[in-house]
Symmetry: D3
């Protein structure tokens, strides 16, 4: 096993196992995703990232499907292949229909377009939007 391999549960130290157990319990899944198995190479980052994600993605003023769609919008904008795949799945699981996906992509595409039009035309911020 090389230092760059993912960590499976059976090979994990107690600190990593505790995080894996918490993920499995919280998400009610048999096994954690590759993302967590790779992060487990650095137990401190694994623990902090899981705790942050768990705190942030829990439903609050925004519901779960809205949060997952925003996550997907950011991942699509950044072109992160892994994150697009995993958060597409998570958003669908949280209730995103194909119609919602279509509208989400349309907004993401248009925002990326108008962001550049605003840059290129050097549009100054309207007084009404200034603090």
């Amino acid at each position: 096993m090389s230092a760059q391999d993912p960590i499976e549960y059976r090979d994990a130290c107690p600190e990593v196992r505790a995080v894996f157990d918490d993920i499995r319990r919280t998400r009610q899944v048999e096994d954690v995703n590759n993302f967590w198995k790779y992060l487990a190479r650095d137990p401190t980052t694994l623990k902090r990232t899981w705790e942050s994600v768990n705190e942030i993605m829990s439903p609050g003023a925004l519901d779960a499907v809205t949060k997952e769609m925003v996550y997907l919008a950011v991942s699509v904008t950044n072109g992160c292949g892994y994150c697009i795949a995993s958060h597409s799945a998570a958003a669908r699981k949280a209730g995103m229909s194909e119609e919602m996906f279509g509208e989400l992509m349309a907004v993401v595409g248009m925002a990326n377009e108008t962001n550049r039009l605003a840059n290129g035309y050097r549009v100054p911020i309207d007084a009404a939007f200034e603090r």
Copy 2:
């Protein structure tokens, strides 16, 4: 007036005025934002962009405030100052509370972080996420 100046209604050609009128009617505002006044330097782009934005941002499977929050999430990720200012205002007008804004920013920040962790650890896509 230089060729790079924004176009005010009083100076606009009929084609631009028609778009400005449609924006004012649809959004029920007195005057259009700077974005449209700068785009008006190219009437073809002005018309196509307004028609696309209007089609995309109308409530459908996603409601107006969700769409504006996604727009804001993309603009924040890209660091477009004008778009952050204008779509913060639009999202608030559509119903985004301060609590919703706080949670939105938390998701956007975390997604930008984990996008890079997935890149850096070179995490392969789980079989379950593959088509």
Copy 3:
């Protein structure tokens, strides 16, 4: 004068002056832009960057205005305010008309949009495009 101030010709060391002189001669300008005055804080980077820019931006298989428009397209995509301002000016000087600018921005906007649609829909590369 702080170490982070731009370097004016009168305060420059001989190595920096030689680069400034070459820029002024090549571009037929009285004074160099701020970009070069700031880079001059690191004479090695100043020299290498100027020589690279000069080699790359000289007309070859692509003419000067095409090269400047591509430079502007990249700067708009990245949202670099300084570079948008300076390369808009350079592209206009090299012959970019307002109509060309309008079409350039339309292409840049659309490319940024479809880049994200391709990401989000996870479109696999057509066999015809593979090597």
Copy 4:
């Protein structure tokens, strides 16, 4: 067939077929690229995107090869694998030689470099470039 599969012509609804027919006629090709088959999952986005791309990419003040090279420059900057593959092919078809490709990449690379030098040195915009 899953909801995330691409839509082939034989399985397409009349609205999608009409767009596919228009693409095939306009581009004089036997079949449309994967990009359009995936977008076809959302016929509204398919139609709007095709009409926008068609309007924007038609020769005008800029010729076809210049537009394709700008599209490629943006796609390379964003790192969109699909778009790099498809617009490399399109640019070559429109007349981009290997020498033009080499110079294009050189400009794109240098622009991405100097964008960051301008950011990092916090270079203020020259008065001459300000509106």
Copy 5:
């Protein structure tokens, strides 16, 4: 005071004051930066972000100046004006000399250039780099 104003210590709730006190003590400063005063509008995000930053930026296998330079490299790549300003100052305080800054910017610029050359030439990963 609007909901979008920064929070000063005198106006802060006990939870925010506790974080501000911890920042001031840890960094030995009189007052916290604007970043923290704006984040204080969402005490949960303020607390989590400060605790994460504090854990991550403490010297470990990498020393403080290296960590600050990496932070600056990322901020320059993303074009975040606030972060470039604040982490330039932090890196200098941690020991970054002008010569180190010059070399850092040179590496950041070159990496941004070659990232795009690798994208544009569609370079496949060498077998030696594959896992």
Copy 6:
């Protein structure tokens, strides 16, 4: 052999061979990486890029491993798969331990997060950071 194929030493023109020889000598390797074989399609870009990389990456005020880690941080932020693979390997060869890699990724992730928090909260630059 297509014009888009990589250039192997045996097929290279003298100008390309001279660069390949210099890379092999400087890095003490049997063969150059794919990156250089693809760039070799444009000998001018190959020569300039190698000379720039060689000048920039040589140890100076920053040592080799710090420079490679900064290169990796930029590549991870941009999501360049090839560059992440090659500069992970280069950084490890220059002395980056797994613990250093873990801390590097943690800083890169956090910087990408707080860059967006600063954007989204529209944090103005502190007077202390202004020039």
